[in-house]
Symmetry: C2
Subunit: 333 residues, 2 copies
DNA sequence: TTGTACGCGTTATCAA
DNA sequence: TTGATAACGCGTACAA
C-alpha cells in the first residue's frame, strides 16, 4: 500500500490538511512544519495519488491514442512525436491498437471513456464515420490524424495527399517520363482517392492524358505484395515510371524488379510515399514523398492540449516534400 | 460532465446504491427495476468511471511500459505483443520513452508510480541498476525485458544473446569462413558482452583463435554508422565474414559495401541480429539471428499479469533462431 | 497557523 | 428488495 497523506499526518501529529498544504508549499504553513513534513514525506516514500487527484479535478492528464497497429512504420513516428509532446506537458498517453477492426476501435474508445481520458487522438482510422454514433456522446476533444471528418468535437491534422502526389508525378514528368503508372490501395479509399487525384491532376495539367490501364488497384494481402502484382502488365503497357501509394508498396515493386531483373532506375523509375526508414536501406534507395510524420504527431498533440486549455484551434494540412534518391532517373528513350 | 450513477438515480427515483447494483446485474434487485435502470443508463450514455473504481479497488488495470524510443524497430514489435496481450486481459498500457536518459527514465517511473499503475515493464534499459534507489521503494511488480537484474520485485524475460551469437558464428564457420569479424555496440555493454562471448565461444569451440584485431567497437553516433566504420580495416585484415551486433549495424555495413563496391556475399558475408523488418528489404536481404520480439512482449505481459494474480513466475530466456537469406555464402578461397 | 467537514464517483456493509 | 452510510486519497471552503 502506498503511503498517503493521512499516514504522514499521523506520524507527524498533524491533520492531513496540513500535510496537503505543506507538500505544495503553501505559505500559510509555518516554514518549520512545512520543511519537517516535506522531509518526512520523502523519507516515507510518499508519492501523491493521481487517481485521487483526478477524481477531484475531473482531469486525468491523460490522452488516449487509437492506432491501427504500432507495427506500421508510418505510425511509429507519429506516436513518437505525440508522446514526446505529451510528456513535456505532463500528460501520459494510453496507446491502443484497433488492428483496423471497427469493433476493436469502438471498444478502444469505450475503454478510453471509462478511463476518463481528457482527449482522444485517432490515427489513420479506416472507419471514422462508423463510430459517429459514439462520437455524439463524446464530450471531449477528438483529434483525427490523416482522416478529416465533420463534427463538433472533431478536429484534424492531415497531410496534403493531393499536393504530395502531384509533386511525385510532376517530377517524373520533368524526367521525361510519359507512361506513368499508379499502384493504389483500395483498403484506404480516402487517401488513395486524393493521391490518385493528384496523380491525375499532374498529368492533365501538363497536357497528358490519363490512361486508365495504367492505374492499378489490386486487392493484395499486404502493401508489399501489392507492389509486385502489376509489374509485367505495366512493362507490357510501355510504362517507364511508377508512382506508388506508399513506400511499402514501392519496396514490394523494387523487390519484384530485382527478381525479374528489371533495372531500377534504368528501365523503370519508382517513387513511393511516406518516407519510412526502410526507404533508405533499399537498393537502390527510394525516391519518395516525405510526410512530416513526427510533426504530424507533435501537432496533433499540441492541438489537443490547446483544446484542453480552451483555446480555439484550426485544422491543419501539412505539405509534403519530395525526397530525391536513387530509384528515379531521366527516361531513356 | 459524464453521467454518474447519482444522475441516473435521480431520474429513476431510486438511490444510487440501487443503480450500482442494478448495473452489475445484482440478482437482489428486482428484474423490473434492474432492466429499467439498465435501459436508462444506456439512454443517458452512462460510462462508469474507472477513476472512482480505482480509488476504491486500489487497482488501475493499467501497466506502465518504459521504452527507450518507439522509433527503434526492435522495440516496436515488443510493444505490439505486450499491448495486445494487455488489451485482451482488460488492461491498458501507458507508453513512455526514456530516450536512454537515466533522468528521463527515473521521471517516467515516478510518473507511473503517481498514476498507480499496477505494474511496470521496462525494455532494454541501459540504466537498470541506476534506479535501484527507486526500486526498493517500489512495491509493484517490475518486469525487465532483455535486461536481467536482481531484486525482490524484479523479474525478467530475455533473449539468449550468447546462444544467438553462437548460432551466427557457427554458421559462418560451416560456410568455410575463418577470419570472422565482429562489430559491437559499446553503448549496450551487457548484451554486447554476451554476444561477444558467444562469438568467442563459437570460434574457440571449433579450435580457432580469436584475433582481437577482428573485434571492433567504435563509438559511432548511430547503429547504422557504426556498420560502415571498420570496413576497410576488416578487408585489410583478410576478413571474409562479419557478424554484427544488430541488424541496423549490418545494414550500415551493407550500405558501406555498396558504396565501396564490395560484393556481398561474394567478397564478404554479413550476419545481423534481431531480424527487424527492413532486414527483408535490403539488397541482398540480410541473413540474421531472429529475436522472438512479439513473443518477448507477450511473455513479459503474461508474466506481469500472472504476478498481479499472485502467481509464482519464473524468469524466462528465449532462444534465437538463424534466418538464412542472401547476405551470406560459402567462402570463396 | 492549523483543523474540520465535505465532496469527487463508486462499492461494500449494514440496516430496514 | 431497497436505502443510508462509510470509505478509498486528496483538495478546499470555512472555522478556530
Amino acid at each position: 500500500m502506498p503511503v498517503t497523506i493521512k499516514d504522514i499526518a499521523k506520524t507527524a501529529g498533524v491533520s492531513h490538511t496540513t500535510v496537503s498544504r505543506a507538500l505544495k508549499g503553501n505559505p500559510a504553513i509555518s516554514l518549520e512544519t512545512r520543511e519537517r513534513i516535506q522531509q518526512l514525506a520523502r523519507h516515507m516514500g510518499y508519492v501523491p495519488s493521481a487517481v485521487a487527484q483526478s477524481l477531484l479535478s475531473r482531469r486525468t492528464q491523460t490522452i488516449g491514442m487509437v492506432i491501427t497497429t504500432i507495427a506500421d512504420p508510418f505510425i511509429v513516428q507519429v506516436v513518437e512525436g505525440a508522446e514526446q509532446t505529451a510528456q513535456e506537458a505532463g500528460y501520459s498517453v494510453f496507446l491502443s491498437s484497433s488492428h483496423n477492426s471497427p469493433d476493436r476501435e469502438m471498444a478502444v474508445v469505450e475503454t478510453f471513456r471509462r478511463r476518463r481520458v481528457d482527449a482522444i487522438i485517432v490515427t489513420s482510422s479506416r472507419v471514422g464515420s462508423l463510430y459517429s454514433s459514439q462520437l455524439d456522446q463524446i464530450e471531449i476533444p477528438v483529434v483525427l490524424i490523416n482522416n478529416q471528418e465533420e463534427g463538433e468535437y472533431l478536429h484534424s491534422v492531415a497531410v496534403d495527399d493531393l499536393q504530395g502526389a502531384r509533386l511525385a508525378v510532376e517530377y517524373l514528368l520533368t524526367l521525361g517520363h510519359r507512361r506513368i503508372g499508379y499502384i493504389g490501395a483500395t483498403d484506404r479509399p480516402k487517401s488513395n482517392g486524393r493521391r490518385l487525384a493528384g496523380y491525375r491532376a499532374a498529368l492533365t495539367q501538363c497536357g497528358h492524358i490519363c490512361d486508365p490501364a495504367l492505374v492499378l488497384s489490386s486487392a493484395a494481402d499486404s502493401d508489399i505484395e501489392r507492389g509486385g502484382v502489376g509489374l509485367e502488365s505495366f512493362l507490357a503497357a510501355g510504362v517507364t515510371a511508377v508512382f506508388c501509394y506508399n513506400d511499402l508498396t514501392a519496396i514490394g515493386l523494387l523487390l519484384a524488379c530485382h527478381q525479374h531483373r528489371v533495372a531500377v532506375p534504368q528501365e523503370l523509375s519508382v517513387v513511393g510515399f511516406d518516407d519510412i526508414d526502410p526507404a533508405l536501406y533499399t537498393t537502390p534507395s527510394l525516391t519518395t514523398i516525405r510526410q512530416p510524420r513526427l510533426k504530424l504527431g507533435q501537432l496533433a498533440m499540441t492541438m489537443t492540449l490547446d483544446l484542453l486549455k480552451g483555446q480555439e484551434t484550426q485544422d491543419q494540412i501539412l505539405p509534403c516534400e519530395l525526397i530525391l534518391r536513387e530509384s528515379t532517373s531521366q527516361r531513356i528513350p
